[in-house]
């Protein structure tokens, strides 16, 4: 009996969360007025009108449209059909009425009343860093995102991002490469993988972390969803790291919301001339913390000093002289083999032999054909 009761409650909570376009504040007021979601569901039209009159005097401004939405939503067949769908597709949800709803999110302006998720529920005892940045990122941004995400994930910090192209994708990949936990907040329906090429990532993330969205199954990735999802990213995190953002970038919306919510902002610098780093540089000017190593973030988040100091490998001891000379010339921005010919003065055959050897030692990689960069270790 008890279980059925709890089940019933869950059904009505779900119904409440699935009513479109009503803010959480209004929903919570109504539940408070009637006592429980079930009572709200069963309330007569007259009782509803009475409630609205009382609430509107408290400046909540219920409209006729709100009322209409609530009345139309009272369709048990549809609700059970939707719940059935969630069940078969392994989609879970959590509402603000639940105690496990993250507190970080509960107290922001306009929190989502209901959150869908796939995978594991978001743990509330772990530190969370969100990594955001440009979709069209450079190779430098890509490698930095992977490197920092991996280093943070190794220290059991949750990496949060938006599963979009570019930096978001590489942050998730970096975290997964160290078997870390990573969550993606989507700007579309929970069952839609957008962009489609991230389908592997979408599946892999659900094993150790999860996918979260406030949008129900089938919801399209519309442009205005993304700034909305950014408020969730910023709210859930303890700090926001920006890697590569243009002067007017969507990532900066996340940062603005994070600042309103009192989060720490971190930014990775680029070259002065890089347009893709202008946004980051502006953030640093305004007081964001400049990040050059993962330690810069770790020292704020961890009480203890990570004992394993990230040690610089003593390359001088292990590399032959020629390879060392070449390695020293290669950095994180891609260098073409032609430049290396000029800089080293080696003939091409010799240069290629040494480059291959470095590549096989995992010290450098070719992000594109005949371009070389250092591999962050």
């Amino acid at each position: 009996m008890d279980i059925e009761c709890a089940n019933n409650e869950a059904i009505y909570e779900y119904w409440l969360g699935s009513i479109p376009n009503i803010k959480a504040k209004k929903l919570l007021t109504m539940v408070e007025y009637f006592g429980s979601p079930e009572d709200l569901y069963k309330a007569s039209l007259k009782a509803m009108e009475q409630m609205i009159r009382e609430c509107n005097s408290k400046e909540l401004n219920f409209t006729d449209r709100d009322l209409e939405a609530i009345m139309i939503g009272r369709d048990m067949d549809l609700i059970s059909k939707n719940l059935e769908y969630l069940n078969t597709h392994d989609i879970k949800y959590i509402t603000m009425l639940n105690r496990t709803y993250p507190d970080k999110l509960r107290y922001i302006y306009n929190p989502p009343f209901l959150l869908y998720y796939k995978g594991k529920p978001l743990p509330d005892n772990k530190k969370i860093i969100s990594i955001v940045g440009a979709r069209e990122c450079s190779i430098y941004g890509r490698e930095t995102a992977k490197y920092i995400a991996a280093a943070l994930a190794k220290e059991d910090i949750i990496i949060l991002s938006g599963l979009a192209r570019g930096i978001d994708t590489y942050a998730h990949i970096g975290a997964l490469s160290e078997e870390g936990t990573t969550y993606g907040i989507m700007g579309c329906g929970i069952d839609i993988c957008y962009p489609v090429e991230n389908i592997d990532l979408y599946m892999d993330m659900q094993v150790k972390g999860g996918i979260i969205s406030e949008y129900g199954p089938g919801c399209k990735p519309l442009a205005y969803h993304f700034p909305m999802r950014n408020r969730i990213i910023s709210a859930l995190s303890d700090g926001i790291l920006v890697i590569e953002a243009k002067e007017k970038s969507g990532s900066l919306i996340t940062v603005d919301m994070g600042l309103e919510q009192g989060k720490e902002i971190y930014a990775v610098p680029g070259r002065v001339t890089d347009k893709l780093s202008e946004g980051c540089h502006n953030l640093i000017k305004m007081g964001a913390k400049l990040v050059t190593t993962p330690m810069d973030i770790l020292e704020d988040l961890l009480e203890y000093n990570p004992s394993k100091e990230i040690k610089q490998l003593e390359l001088v001891d292990i590399l032959p002289q020629d390879e060392l000379a070449i390695y020293e010339l290669i950095c994180l921005s891609p260098k073409h083999i032609e430049e290396l010919v000029v800089l080293t003065g080696f003939d091409i055959g010799k240069l290629m032999e040494n480059l291959l050897s470095l590549e096989l030692k995992d010290l450098i990689i070719q992000p594109m054909k005949n371009y070389y960069i250092r591999r962050n270790k």
């Binding site: 979709r135 073409h336 032609e338 000029v342 291959l356 594109m368």
Partner: protein, 511 residues
């Protein structure tokens, strides 16, 4: 009265002997031609009649029938005008019948009795020689072309009168001759372009040198203005010289296509660079009356496709089979033709539609856009490039010439040595270049030492190479070793070959 002359028709790239029979008999005055004729051959009737009249021959009012046999092969082209006229004149007794034996006659008539040049003389004369003919009569403009074939006398004529005189008395006329040595010597004239014009790009130049040495197909990728086209157009200056047999093969194709102009032979390796608006038929050959396409015109030479992704996708995919078989087979309802197409493919492309990827300060293309751009070229086609190299944007400092660049002559001498080594090695095996090695031959000629084997194995696992890539690397390594005049393939050669390996779609904007 019956007479029989001999002519020939182009079939594929070979000539086929056709006998032209003429019969004059009593009856209603009539001039008829039979034997599966195309419309331009049927029109010969009018040309022949008027040309004969204007040359001063009077045709009595008789029933004239001309038959071209074998009658089951479609006759096309205008080369039958002259043999038809000669056959008729012989039937009327102007020429001795036995003088037509063992004589091939080709030529187009104009109304005043002059003889115009025709296409495809070289393969026709060649076919006549194979069939045991002793002499051939061709238009004066084509005489050099025909005279290249040894073992058969070629006479050039410019009017019907001349042709009749010649047929009445061969002794009084001299056959045309060409000095082959002269032809081949003359060609090393002043080159307009040279590799020393290109500053920097040492890596690409090196890749081109290797590609030419082993006839490997090469793909150059790079931003606009990095000199890809400039480098490609200089490839002919380092190509090794043509041998006589190769020259004959190419000249036959050019003769059929009507591109021989007034040259006797093609003495330079062809370099064809069709525009990217080219149609499928123009590229591989074909048409209602099949003609060789660009790939056959590039036989024994270079086919350069600039801006590869801009070509119609279906058109470039047609290259796949000819690249493997070194020939293209074109099937039509009436016949199947096989044109040789043993070319070296050189292609260039930008890394994305704006051309500047991965320079993110200039390139705004999203990754899917970049992938889509590369996706215009299918993986199987990409697989056929043995060598793939990225060209880098040239900066001002490199344009400000720091040093004297290597000239084409230097490169050519190294390539010549490498080619000699290959010719020696593959003597009598129907293989001339390393690119033609089959997997069994690779095992024999590209054996590795233990050290090199382990290096290749490491790279194979690390870079996730395919079996096809593995063989390509070995073939290219063989060529690099040949350039080094080294019997063994060392780890240096292997390393360099691995650096030139073809791009993997996966490595392109890799995760």
């Amino acid at each position: 009265m019956f007479s029989k002359a001999y002519s020939a028709v182009i079939h594929g790239i070979d000539g086929l002997i056709v006998s032209v029979e003429a019969d004059v008999s009593d009856g209603l005055p009539l001039f008829d031609m039979v034997g599966l004729l195309n419309s331009e051959v049927k029109e010969a009737r009018e040309r022949v009649r008027i040309a004969l009249k204007n040359s001063g021959y009077r045709l009595p009012a008789k029933r004239i029938t001309v038959n071209l046999s074998p009658a089951d092969i479609r006759k096309e082209g205008t080369a039958f005008d002259l043999p038809v006229a000669i056959a008729i004149l012989t039937a009327f007794g102007y020429i001795h019948d036995e003088n037509l034996h063992n004589t091939l006659i080709i030529g187009e008539l104009s109304l005043n009795g002059n003889i115009n040049k025709v296409n495809g003389v070289l393969p026709l004369v060649y076919a006549a020689k194979q069939e045991g003919f002793l002499r051939c009569i061709v238009p004066k403009d084509n005489a050099d072309e025909g005279a290249v074939v040894k073992g058969i006398k070629t006479y050039g004529v410019s009017t019907i009168k001349e042709a009749v005189d010649l047929l009445c008395d061969f002794e009084a006329h001299k056959p045309t001759t060409v000095d082959l040595d002269m032809l081949f010597e003359n060609k090393t004239g002043n080159e307009l372009v040279d590799f020393s014009d290109v500053n920097g790009q040492a890596a690409v130049k090196r890749a081109i040198e290797i590609a030419v040495s082993g006839m490997h197909n090469i793909l150059m990728i790079g931003p606009p203005g990095s000199g890809k086209t400039m480098l490609a157009t200089r490839i002919p200056t380092i190509m090794p010289e043509l041998s006589f047999d190769e020259s004959m093969e190419i000249s036959k194709i050019y003769s059929i296509a009507g591109l021989l102009d007034s040259r006797a032979l093609i003495t330079r390796r062809p370099f064809r660079s069709p525009h990217h608006s080219i149609t499928s038929t123009a590229l591989v050959g074909g048409g209602a009356i099949p003609k060789p396409g660009e790939i056959s015109l590039a036989h024994h030479g270079v086919l350069f496709l600039d801006e590869l992704p801009e070509f119609n996708k279906n058109t470039i995919e047609l290259l796949r089979q000819p690249l493997e078989e070194k020939a293209v087979t074109i099937s039509r309802l009436n016949a199947t033709f096989r044109y040789p197409a043993g070319f070296m493919l050189v292609a260039s492309m930008n890394p994305c539609s704006c051309g500047y990827y991965p320079d993110r300060n200039k390139c705004n293309c999203s990754l899917p856009m970049v992938k889509r751009y590369l996706g215009k070229i299918s993986k199987p086609l990409l697989d056929r490039f043995d060598i793939c190299i990225e060209a880098m944007q040239i900066n001002y400092k490199e344009l400000e010439n720091r040093k004297i660049e290597e000239s084409s002559a230097d490169m050519r001498s190294r390539i010549y040595r490498a080619r000699q080594i290959q010719v020696e090695r593959y003597k009598g095996q129907d293989i001339w270049f390393n690119c033609q090695l089959t997997s069994r031959k690779i095992k024999k000629y590209c054996s590795l030492g233990a050290k090199e084997q382990s290096l290749l194995e490491q790279a194979f696992i690390k870079m996730n190479l395919t079996a096809r890539a593995y063989h390509r690397i070995l073939k290219v390594a063989r060529t690099i070793a040949d350039l080094d005049s080294s019997e063994r393939i060392t780890s240096k050669h292997i390393s360099e070959a691995i650096c030139y390996r073809s791009i993997d779609a996966k490595y392109w904007g890799q995760m």
